[in-house]
Symmetry: C2
Subunit: 300 residues, 2 copies
């Protein structure tokens, strides 16, 4: 019955740019299974496998996938239906010059902990960490600049956002015809913040269904969950990212309720939580979550 | 049966310093009801009441309350049992030079929205925001410096943290004999971030039970909820606050599990969410929440 199409991980990108060439072109409403490599490309299999530096090519993103009919000004819709780890271990690492505590003399750089997958959880010494997979890197061709897949920005990229899990839908602004979606860098588990610079990095298969929303008022990635519309923003500092995310959320509230922008900003201060996605990439990503009770559909 | 003691709001402080004088001295395990003024001291009752500038004396904190036997090196425990609004309205405001979007030309400064309390919720135009009271400012006498009640730091102060709600317990390092606790600046509702610089500010009565934990390894405020131990940190930038909170959480994990600090840091990157408290005060406050399954008691 299903005509779900598999996109294998032989075609990947290491940068999002305006001139990506599609590895495959699909129709709107395409149901896909996308294979993704672990972000360290198999280089870390044991605790003794250390990352002496950030590799030149890292965070392979499978794609690019062009969607027929997606045009600049539209939004690309990605329903995340499942994220299945396809190997028996994740890995968390420190890398010299990388991570929140990169300058802390008590933190060893490099250092590796391989986390075996056992009975639906990750083993970390005597502790068990539930599997809760999320997508680290997902985005589309950019408007102008080129960003490596290590960096997040308005096109998505290395968002490292725990909300990018099964059941969520993420929307990206379309900057180039076809959108040109790519994804990878999945985590078997990760905390908001991604403090050390990684979650438990793992190879996966991701089931997604794609779509196109015409003429969508969207400047940056937007996530829909059961409960909330969540506005993502990435910037040099957490403070600037917070400003962008709160501004986008307030604008959507003002459009929805027809009021003054200032009133929407005050309302956001009561109901729209600012949340940390990641603090290490090196641009930082935050999000502002507006409960759906206050906002029916910001893409209308 | 109860000998709950009421601390009225006639004795307040506008700064936390090393040399606070107690307005009252209580025994450990004292059950108190603490009256708190709204942070704007009744100056805003209608939408037309505008805050032209941040008042010199703002965020009145009721106290200081000395606890017998609390000595430097101990922790002061504050079980928050209830927070009851005692007036029929909250207020959210912008103030010139204050708030996340203070420089945004689309935001009016000053601007006020009074939010009437009706049927257990705040009315905001046609919208209804559930009452979910939290304490904005709570802290103890400092080690050295003086901080106005507008500022958060290691002593607590203007933490503006939504976790400071009924059911939570908060611990502060004791820097001066007696601890010298004061609290106020409650919100009827507030989002993580406190974007505009306020929640819905409201006068309350707070039921607390105090206690002293001897010889506690605590540098900054710590919150215990049903699910997590949450390490708070305030600093000039969100990034620095994140470093402090993740460091404290990682140290507690390393102590609990007897491992290397680096391993605890990697574990934190998988399980200990970084969360935003507030981005406006003007020091910023974040928190790092360690689920109790990984940490039995960091004060042991």
């Amino acid at each position: 019955m299903t005509d779900r199409h598999t996109i294998d991980d032989s075609s990947v990108v290491y940068a999002f740019s305006p001139d990506l060439e599609p590895s495959v072109t699909v129709e709107p409403r395409a149901a896909l299974t996308v294979e993704t490599r672990d972000s360290l490309e198999g280089a870390v299999q044991r605790d003794g496998d250390l990352m002496e530096s950030v590799p030149e090519e890292v965070n392979a993103a499978t794609g690019p996938i062009a969607v027929e009919g997606a045009e600049p000004g539209d939004a690309l819709r990605v329903e995340i239906e499942a994220i299945r780890p396809t190997e028996d271990r994740g890995r968390a690492v420190t890398i010299p010059g990388f991570g929140l505590l990169r300058d802390d003399p008590e933190v060893a750089h490099p250092h590796t902990r391989v986390t075996p997958v056992e009975d639906g959880a990750l083993r970390f010494g005597d502790l068990s960490v539930p599997l809760d997979p999320c997508i680290g890197t997902i985005g589309v061709a950019t408007a102008d600049e080129e960003y490596t897949t290590l960096v997040p920005h308005d096109h998505g990229g290395n968002l490292d956002t725990t909300d990018l899990r099964a059941g969520a839908t993420v929307y990206f602004p379309v900057f180039q015809p076809g959108g040109l979606l790519a994804m990878g860098d999945c985590k078997a588990a990760m905390a908001d913040g991604e403090h050390c610079g990684t979650g438990a990095e793992i190879a996966t298969e991701i089931d997604v269904t794609l779509g196109v929303v015409g003429d969508a008022p969207l400047s940056r990635p937007l996530i829909e969950t059961d409960d909330a519309w969540t506005f993502l923003a990435s910037a040099e500092t957490l403070q600037t990212a917070c400003e962008l995310a709160v501004r986008d959320a307030s604008e959507a509230l003002a459009r929805a309720h027809g009021g003054e922008f200032t009133d929407a900003y005050l309302l956001a201060s009561l109901i729209a939580d600012l949340e940390i996605s990641q603090v290490v990439d090196p641009l930082k990503t935050v999000r502002c979550a507006v409960p759906k009770g206050y906002l029916a559909d910001p893409l209308d």
